[in-house]
C-alpha cells in the first residue's frame, strides 16, 4: 500500500467534467506534467446532463455580436457579474467553439455554410435575444464531454478515478497538493503538485430529493477550500428549474410549456403565466405548494401525436417515474434545484481567494459571470472557455515556491478515516439525515425565503452537521464503502448549505434567484458579493473581502 503517488506534478486537477478535462488538455498541450483525478469517471460528470447548448456569438442563424452576448449576460446577473469576466468569456466563445470543432465535437449542423464554424446550428434559449446556443441535438453536454474524454485518452493524460477529495494540503495558505480516499480500497493517499486546480462542480445535491443534479454534486471542493482558509461567495444564489416531476425531481424540459403546456392547481385552475422567466414561474408554483395544493403540468391539450413527435423523452420519463400518460393525464410537478451560481471565490486569474497556488474553474466557483441568475447556454461555455483559459492565466502568475510537507496532513486525515471505520463515533442514519436536510433546504432556503425560516434552517442544519461530523458510517468495510462516501459527501453538502443560509440571511433584499418575502425589492446596498470564510468558531461573513464591482 503506497501512501502517496510517487510523482510530483506541475498541476493536479481535481474533477473530470468538462472544466477539468478542458484544463488538462490545455496543460498537456503546454507540456506540463499534469494529473487529473475524479471521484467518478469523466463521462459520469454532471456536465453530461446539460442539454440545451453552448453560447457563442457566431451569428450563424440570426445576426449576433459579442457585445449583445455580453449585454444579455450582464442583464441576467442583476448587477452582480464582473463585466471584465463576462467580456472575457463572451469574447473567447467563438474560439472555444472552434477548438471543440477541431477536436471532433459532433455539433448539429445547418446546410449551405461556407466555413466549418458557419455550419454549426444555433438555437435561441431563454434570456437571449437571438439564436446563440450551438448544440448537438439534446445531448450537447454529453457530446462535448465524451469528445474531450476521447481526447484525454488520446493524449495519454495521467488520470485516476475513484479518488474522493478529503482535504487540500496547505502551509501558511500555500497549497501543495491534496489528500484523497481511494474508494475501492479505503486507502488514504496524497498527491503533490506545484499547483492545484479545482473543478468538482456545484453543490445542488445538498437539496437532496429536490434537485435535478446527480447525488454526488455535493460541493466537495468548495468545502475543502473553506476548511483550508479560502473563501466562498454568491452562495445564496441557487437556480431552480420550475418543472421537475414531483418526488423524483426528474427534469421536464422547458419546451413542454413552450409548446402550450399549462400549469394548474388541484382544482384545475391556471394560476400563472407559464412563459414568464424561470424564477417567476418557480415562485408561483412554490407558493401554491406551500399553501397545500399540488401543482400539475397539463399537456393533454396537445394530443398524443404532437407529444410523440415533439417530446418523446418527456412522455417516457413521466410514464416511468410518475406512472402518468401525459397524453391523457396531468402530472404533478415541483421546482427543483439545478444550478448553483455561487461557489469558490476566485479572482480574474481564477486564483482562489485566501490561498496560494490554488485555482478553480466551473460550477464549483463564483467566477463572477452569472451573478444572481445564470443565462441558459452560459454554463457549458463557462466550463469550456475558462477550463481552456485557466492554464494560460496560471502560467503567467507568480506563484509561491515554498514546499509544503504533505505527509503530516495525510496522516492526520488517515487517522480520522480510520477512527470512523473503527466505529469510534456513533453510527448515524446518514440517509435519513440527508433526506431531512434536503427537505429543510427546499422548504426554508428555497424559492421564497424569510428571516425566520432561514434562522430556523441554520439552527437545524448546524445540529445535523454536529451529528454527521462525529458519527461513523453504517458500513464499516474498507473497500467500496458507499455509505462512508455518502457520509463524507453529506458533510460537504451541509457546510455549503450553511454558507448558503448565511448568505441568504445577510442579503436582506430580493435579487435574481434569491427572493426574500420580507425584503421583496432589490436594494442597491447589496450590490456586491457576500463573501464567506471559516475560522475556529465556524463560518462567518467576511465583510472585509466583499468584492466591489
Amino acid at each position: 500500500m503506497s501512501d502517496s503517488v510517487e510523482n510530483r506534478y506541475d498541476l493536479l486537477v481535481i474533477g473530470a467534467g468538462i472544466a477539468g478535462m478542458s484544463a488538462v488538455i490545455s496543460a498537456k498541450e503546454r507540456g506540463m506534467r499534469v494529473m487529473m483525478v475524479s471521484k467518478t469517471s469523466p463521462t459520469r460528470a454532471q456536465s453530461v446532463m446539460a442539454q440545451g447548448g453552448i453560447n457563442a456569438a457566431l451569428g450563424n442563424v440570426s445576426e449576433d455580436s459579442v457585445r449583445m452576448h455580453i449585454e444579455d449576460t450582464l442583464k441576467s446577473s442583476h448587477g452582480l457579474a464582473n463585466p471584465e469576466m463576462v467580456e472575457r468569456m463572451c469574447t473567447l466563445a467563438p474560439s472555444v467553439i472552434e477548438k471543440l470543432e477541431r477536436l471532433g465535437v459532433p455539433f448539429s449542423r445547418i446546410d449551405g455554410a461556407e466555413t466549418p464554424l458557419g455550419s454549426i446550428a444555433q438555437r435561441r434559449l431563454g434570456g437571449a435575444r437571438v439564436a446563440r446556443a450551438c448544440y448537438a441535438q439534446d445531448y450537447t453536454g454529453l457530446k462535448i464531454a465524451h469528445t474531450l474524454y476521447d481526447t484525454v485518452l488520446h493524449m495519454g493524460i495521467e488520470r485516476m478515478d475513484d479518488l474522493f477529495l478529503l482535504s487540500l494540503v496547505s502551509e501558511d495558505a500555500v497549497v501543495g497538493g491534496a489528500v484523497f480516499l481511494r474508494i475501492s480500497t479505503g486507502e488514504v493517499i496524497s498527491i503533490e503538485a506545484d499547483k492545484v486546480l479545482l473543478a468538482t462542480g456545484g453543490f445542488g445535491a445538498a437539496y437532496h430529493g429536490y434537485t435535478t443534479n446527480a447525488c454526488g454534486t455535493t460541493g466537495d471542493a468548495a468545502s475543502a477550500v473553506l476548511r483550508a482558509g479560502g473563501r466562498l461567495s454568491g452562495m445564496e444564489f441557487v437556480q431552480f428549474h420550475p418543472t421537475a416531476l414531483k418526488g423524483s425531481s426528474i427534469l421536464i424540459s422547458e419546451s413542454a410549456r413552450g409548446e402550450g403546456g399549462i400549469l394548474v392547481d388541484e382544482s384545475g385552475e391556471r394560476f400563472t403565466d407559464e412563459l414568464a422567466p424561470r424564477d417567476e414561474v418557480s415562485r408561483a408554483i412554490f407558493s401554491k405548494i406551500k399553501s397545500g395544493s399540488d401543482v400539475y403540468l397539463d399537456l393533454t391539450g396537445l394530443g398524443r401525436e404532437k407529444l410523440e413527435k415533439l417530446m418523446p423523452q418527456e412522455l417516457h420519463l413521466a410514464s416511468l417515474h410518475a406512472g402518468v400518460d401525459l397524453a391523457t393525464q396531468r402530472v404533478a410537478v415541483s421546482p427543483a434545484v439545478h444550478y448553483t451560481m455561487g461557489g469558490i471565490e476566485v479572482d480574474e486569474n481564477y486564483a482562489v481567494t485566501g490561498l496560494k497556488n490554488c485555482f478553480a474553474v466551473g460550477e464549483c466557483t463564483n467566477s463572477h459571470l452569472h451573478g444572481a441568475n445564470r443565462l441558459g447556454g452560459n454554463s457549458l461555455l463557462e466550463i469550456s472557455a475558462f477550463g481552456f483559459d485557466v492554464v494560460d492565466k496560471m502560467e503567467r502568475m507568480e506563484v509561491s515556491d515554498s514546499v509544503v510537507d504533505i505527509s503530516l496532513s495525510r496522516d492526520r486525515v488517515r487517522e480520522e478515516i480510520e477512527s470512523m471505520l473503527a466505529g469510534e463515533g456513533e453510527t448515524c442514519d446518514i440517509y435519513a439525515l440527508r433526506r431531512e436536510f434536503g427537505e429543510i433546504l427546499f422548504t426554508d432556503v428555497g424559492i421564497i425565503r424569510d428571516r425566520d425560516g432561514l434562522v430556523s434552517a441554520l439552527k437545524r442544519c448546524s445540529e445535523i452537521e454536529n451529528i454527521v461530523s462525529e458519527c461513523s458510517p453504517p458500513d464499516r468495510s474498507r473497500c467500496h464503502n458507499g455509505s462512508l462516501v455518502h457520509l463524507l459527501e453529506s458533510r460537504n453538502a451541509i457546510l455549503c448549505a450553511r454558507a448558503t443560509i448565511l448568505g441568504a440571511i445577510y442579503r436582506e433584499e430580493s435579487r435574481g434567484a434569491h427572493y426574500r418575502s420580507d425584503f421583496p425589492d432589490e436594494n442597491g446596498m447589496f450590490g456586491e458579493d457576500i463573501v464567506i470564510g471559516m475560522g475556529e468558531s465556524g463560518i462567518f461573513v467576511d465583510r472585509g473581502m466583499g468584492v466591489s464591482l
Binding site: 446532463m49 449542423r109 466549418p116 476521447d150 485518452l153 435519513a432
Partner: protein
Amino acid sequence: MKLTIGRYRDEKAYDETFEPVRRVSTLLDALFSIRESIDHTLTFESGCRSGICGACAVKVDGRESLACSIMARDGMRVEPLSGYRPLRDLKVDRSLTEDRLSSAQAYLHEYGEAVCSEKDEERSRIQSDCILCGSCYSVCPVVEVDGEFIGPFALSRSYRYASDPRESGDVDILTAIQSHGVWDCTLCGECTAVCPQGVDSKNDILSLRSMSLRAGFSDPSFVSMDFGAGFSFDGAGF
C-alpha cells in the same frame, strides 16, 4: 414487491431477496430504498437518474438494462453486468471501458478542415449518443471467448470518428481495429438489441468492414480460408 439481488462479496456470489419498505418507481429507486432502509451496505453505482450517465447498468432477469430506466417489478432478479470484473454486489470494474477505447483508438486522429452538413451530422448522430454504460459489452458473446475483443461500444465509437468528414486519419482508426476487432464480431446483433440509446453497433461494425475493405484491409478468415469448425475452402472440410 420482492427483488432478488445477485450479490458479490469476498469473491463469493450469492442471491438475497429484499422487499422495499416504501412504494418505488424505477429499479434504481428500489435499490435506493433497500440501501437506505434495509441494508446500508448494498453496493451499486448510480448518477444522473435519467439515463444519461450510464452508471447504473445492470442485468435484470438476465438482460442488460439501466436501473434508472426500467420500472421495478415483483420478482425481478438483478445482477451485475457480465464481461466486467465484479467488485462488490452490483458494482463492476469499469476500467475495462477505457482499455477498450484506447485499443480502438477512437478519437479524431487528424483534423482536416471540412464544412459539415446536416447529412454529415446524421451519419454519426446515433453513435455519438453512446453513454458508455457497457450493456453491449456485457451481452456480447465474443467477449466471453476473446478477452481482448475490442467490443461493440468502442467499435461504434471508431465508426463515429472514421466516418466524420473532419477525420483525415481514418486509415489509422481502421488499422487499430483489424485485430480482435471488426472481423471478430459474430453479427449476432445482441449489442444493438440491448442498447438503451438505440446505437446499432452491429450495423456500425458492418460499415467498418466495408470501409476496411475499401482501405485495402481484408477479412482474415478469407485470407486463411479458415471459418472455424473444420469448414474451409480447401476442400478438407467437405
